[in-house]
């Protein structure tokens, strides 16, 4: 099937099998390998991307379902050489170690902060609970989201 979609502002066309998973389209056809795969059951969130602004786990979406949609992957967060405040906060707050869950965490976090610009700690923890991290114990990921929230509000 032929599909058209926009990824990080760039238009793409592809001829795909109906069963092709979106994550495989992104990683293996479009070669955007920042989106990762960590499980088979939609639990880990390493493959999280934004579809029309909403976070989705791209291992559980078919590529054909993205036809006509606007996607953002981790590679699309940096704009004109400027990191998204959440990317910068992950670095400054030591919110990552092996880096494998990081792109998914970033995409979930970016969408969450758009919806909830002044979140409580509990709200942040609930928001990222669909993204598993084995390295950080989440403490510094929560701090990074808090820090980015402050920056986006112009407070830091």
């Amino acid at each position: 099937m032929r599909i058209q979609l926009s990824v990080n502002g760039e238009k793409h066309e592809a001829d795909v099998e109906p069963r092709l998973l979106l994550v495989h389209l992104i990683r293996e056809v479009l070669r955007l390998t920042g989106t990762h795969i960590g499980c088979d059951t939609t639990h880990c969130g390493a493959c999280t991307i934004l579809m029309d602004g909403r976070p989705v786990k791209s291992c559980t979406v078919f590529a054909v379902q993205a036809n006509g949609r606007q996607l953002t992957t981790v590679e699309g967060l940096e704009q004109d050489g400027t990191l998204h405040p959440l990317q910068a906060s992950f670095m400054s707050e030591h919110g990552l170690q092996c880096g494998y869950c990081t792109p998914g965490m970033l995409m979930t976090g970016v969408a969450f902060l758009q919806k909830n610009p002044r979140p409580s700690e509990d709200e942040i923890r609930a928001a990222i609970s669909g993204n598993l991290c084995r390295c950080t114990g989440y403490v510094n990921i929560v701090k990074a989201v808090q820090h980015a929230a402050a920056v986006l509000q112009g407070g830091a």
């Binding site: 099998e17 069963r19 495989h24 390998t33 981790v74 923890r125 669909g130 114990g137």
Partner: protein, 788 residues
């Protein structure tokens, strides 16, 4: 410790932002599955639904008819090259692909090679295998009973399922001390089978270049050099020589011990690439990862602890049955079948101890590796810390007071333990006191008394652990004969920038930053000017890899030693440039100055330039060094953790209200990274304490084989960790550092378990095995008269 270097240099003690992060936050890391080569083929694996069965027939015809499928590889195919079995790191054997029978559910049975990931999976789905089921042995106790079906029929003359017996310590003295003790406590403790479940699974791309006869393997390995040597030794007969094998360990998405072993998938991919001359990718999925890769733990322990009436501990006796699955595929140093389990006297000054372990075969996947710990140290710590709490409660002593009474005292270091280890340094009283002060221990005990009056269940648990890491001294430590040194090779360029390569491999620990800081500390070259590389066996010096918290104790020491060799040469060059004797120079990080004339100096950058442009007559040009560091002893990080839990008597849920962790890893290189390691380690301690277990039903069906039922803690369950540290340098490490990656995973489960039992002690509860699920607590509460 105040940093000796400026923030610009960024040596030890600076919370330098990580050099790894700019690529990771942009999604620009390179993990194995990100590598895509032209003409690459894909491997998918057919796995057994049975835990024990004869293979009657494998019919590949339907698979071969699937478009894109090129071949179906079976054990018969590998047997032609004698590659159907492979050695484990513990001198046992395991199958690559079976010829006669399968030994556990999810074992590899055949592999499908195809032109795409999807075609390979399609092919694997239609390989038809006829099995003849055999009796299944799941319980290791039953495995050792007379008449149990013998599993390893491949081993001639093997008449039972017993693998080995190992014991350590003075049996007679221990038996005597326990017989004569005023008070003894005895407890069965099961430490269940768990899985590291790094978020990246395992995989590889094998690429055999037929023109140059060179095999390159990108693989998820924590020990690339050892893997290269193993490949050369195992496959030498089919023409793979060590100089023609290149292992590249790219960015790794978490290792925790699970990426130390060689799994069959790697070997099949290599064989497929050698046969086809094409790159072959094998990436396991999560269920394969949980169901077939090496497990950790699975120790069935019986422990006895003895004390005098006044609470002075006298002796410890431990018997353990280790369930290894169908092969002993642990990743221990060769001389230690039960790892370093005999550090089980812990932080206590025990005069007598004896420990024995028996290994048993069962119809489960082979193992066991460490789960973020140094060779069975978590098993040891969990046992002694549970037993210490049992004894304290038995004696009606406060568990903190009891520990303070029995700790090895600061003046006893270096301390020779009853089981023969020489602890390098420690201040156990200091760490526990700091934890108690931080959490407000006395106030919590008062609150607990009040709550008990009201019928509320609150518990306080302590774990004062001692680790043993940094394997290890070559006299005792080797893996397949390879001594457990590690290495650093540093080269300084003419403009004073540098590259340093190591025999280890980071999996998230931040080596690119930490090692650069060590070198910056020693040479005064800014950490940002030092590029650190690991994981490519064609370029890095030989080393045994990263696991068991050995990178800082061994490779970190090698970095310091290499830098000091460079400094020695730099001193000669500086003397030449300043036209003084070497003895007239003094060093401060970054420059040599003439004593008494501080204005007369040469920076390390000046000296580096001179090493290539104006070096002294008779001296070789260049400024570089290599160090292979053989540690004189292990290091012994320690700490005290205090956990407060509230139990929901209606649901049995354990709520961790507070958790204070005071760690002592000696001198700290990067405080930010150390704290991050502790946060992560604590969460991987919480996980097996409350959530994670892989178990099997009586037919050998795996329970907990996917993220649906193998429960990793999310941000919601994970407490807000409170961390702190004391600093007791290691006297033998060149930087006084000890290693920290695993301390928290080792120490945390006992604190949580002790807190849960503490909450129910007054009801008569004495023990609960981890994971402490709501169902277990609910049942215990009902059995002890709590009805809501």
């Amino acid at each position: 410790m105040e940093p000796r270097t400026s923030a610009e240099v960024g040596g030890m003690g600076h919370s330098l932002k990580r050099k790894e992060d700019p690529r990771f936050i942009r999604g620009k890391g390179t993990y194995v599955d990100d590598v895509q080569l032209p003409g690459m083929l894909y491997l998918d694996i057919v796995r057994s639904p049975h835990a024990h069965a004869k293979i009657v027939k494998i019919d590949s015809s339907k698979a071969l008819a699937v478009p894109g499928v090129l071949a179906v590889i079976t054990g018969q195919d590998l047997a032609k090259y004698n590659l159907h079995w492979m050695p484990t790191l513990m001198s046992d054997t395991q199958m690559v692909l079976p010829v006669e029978k399968v030994m556990y559910q999810a074992q590899e049975v055949a592999a499908v090679l195809a032109t795409s990931r999807y075609a390979a999976a399609d092919g694997a789905a239609v390989v038809e295998v006829e099995y003849d089921p055999l009796p299944v042995v799941v319980d290791p106790h039953k495995a050792l009973e007379p008449g149990a079906p013998v599993l390893r029929t491949d081993k001639k003359d093997k008449k039972d399922n017993h693998i080995w017996h190992w014991e350590w310590g003075d049996r007679a003295a221990t038996d005597r001390a326990i017989a004569e003790a005023d008070v003894t406590v005895k407890q069965d403790i099961y430490i269940p089978r768990i899985h590291v479940a790094s978020i990246e699974t395992c995989g590889c791309i094998a690429h055999f270049d037929k023109v140059n006869d060179k095999l390159t393997v990108w693989m998820t390995t924590q020990a690339p050099h050892a893997i290269r040597t193993v490949f050369a030794l195992v496959a030498g007969h089919v023409g793979l020589a060590e100089h023609k094998i290149r292992i590249i360990s790219p960015d790794i998405g978490g290792g925790f011990g699970g990426k130390v072993p060689v799994y069959p998938g790697y070997v099949i991919a290599v064989a497929a690439s050698v046969l086809t001359g094409k790159p072959v990718k094998w990436i396991e999925d999560r269920m394969e990862n949980l169901q077939a890769d090496s497990f950790a733990r699975d120790y069935h322990i019986t422990a006895e602890l003895a004390a005098k009436k006044d609470g002075t501990l006298t002796a410890l006796r431990i018997k353990t049955l280790a369930d290894h699955g169908y092969a002993d595929a642990a990743a221990n140093p060769s001389k230690f079948p039960a790892g370093l389990f005999h550090v089980c006297t812990g932080s206590y000054d025990l005069k007598a101890a004896h420990v024995e372990v028996d290994g048993a075969y069962t119809n489960k996947p082979p193992g066991g590796i460490a789960y973020r710990c140094s060779f069975r140290v978590t098993e040891a710590v969990h046992t002694i810390e549970r037993m210490a709490d049992l004894m304290a409660h038995q004696l009606a002593m406060d568990p903190a007071e009891f520990r303070m009474k029995n700790f090895v005292k600061p003046e006893q270091f270096p301390y020779k333990s009853a089981l023969g280890w020489e602890y390098d340094s420690g201040n156990y009283h200091g760490a526990l006191q700091k934890a108690m002060d931080t959490i407000g221990y006395a106030e919590l005990r008062r609150e607990q008394v009040d709550k008990r009056r009201r019928g509320e269940l609150m518990g306080i648990g302590i774990s004062s652990f001692t680790e043993i890491v940094g394997a290890g001294p070559s006299k005792h430590f080797d893996i397949l004969g390879l001594k457990m040194f590690d290495s650093c090779e540093m080269r300084i360029h003419p403009t004073g920038k540098a590259i340093a390569r190591f025999g280890t491999k980071s999996q998230g620990q931040g080596h690119e930053t930490t090692y650069a800081q060590i070198l910056a500390e020693e040479l005064g070259i800014p950490a940002k000017d030092i590029q650190v590389e690991e994981g490519d066996t064609d370029t890095a010096p030989y080393g045994l890899g990263t696991y068991a918290s050995r990178s800082t104790p061994v490779a970190g020491a090698a970095a310091a030693m290499a830098a000091r060799k460079i400094r020695d040469k730099a001193r000669k060059i500086a003397a030449h440039l300043l036209e003084v004797a070497e003895e007239d120079l003094e060093w401060e990080p970054g420059k040599f100055s003439v004593k008494g004339a501080p204005g007369k100096s040469k920076t390390i950058q000046d000296i580096a330039f001179a090493a290539y442009t104006n070096h002294p007559q008779g001296m070789e040009a260049g400024l570089e060094a290599v160090s292979y560091y053989d540690p004189p002893n292990l290091t012994y990080p320690f700490g005290s953790y205090i956990c407060v839990v509230d139990l929901d008597s209606g649901t049995g849920e354990v709520k961790v209200r507070r958790f204070v962790a005071i760690d002592d890893c000696g001198n700290i290189i990067n405080p930010m990274i150390v704290q991050g390691q502790v946060h992560g380690g604590l969460t991987m301690g919480l996980a097996p304490a409350l959530y994670e277990e892989i178990s099997y039903d009586e037919s050998g069906n795996v329970q907990g084989g996917s993220f649906i039922d193998y429960l990793l803690p999310t941000a919601v369950e994970t407490p807000k960790w409170e961390t702190g540290h004391t600093v007791t340098p290691s006297p033998h490490h060149p930087l006084g550092a000890k290693g920290v990656g695993e301390s928290a995973t080792v120490g945390a489960p006992a604190a949580i378990a002790n807190a849960v039992v503490d909450a129910m002690w007054h009801l008569g509860v004495r023990h609960v095995d981890i994971p402490i699920t709501p169902a277990k607590v609910w049942k215990l509460l009902r059995e002890h008269g709590v009805t809501e």
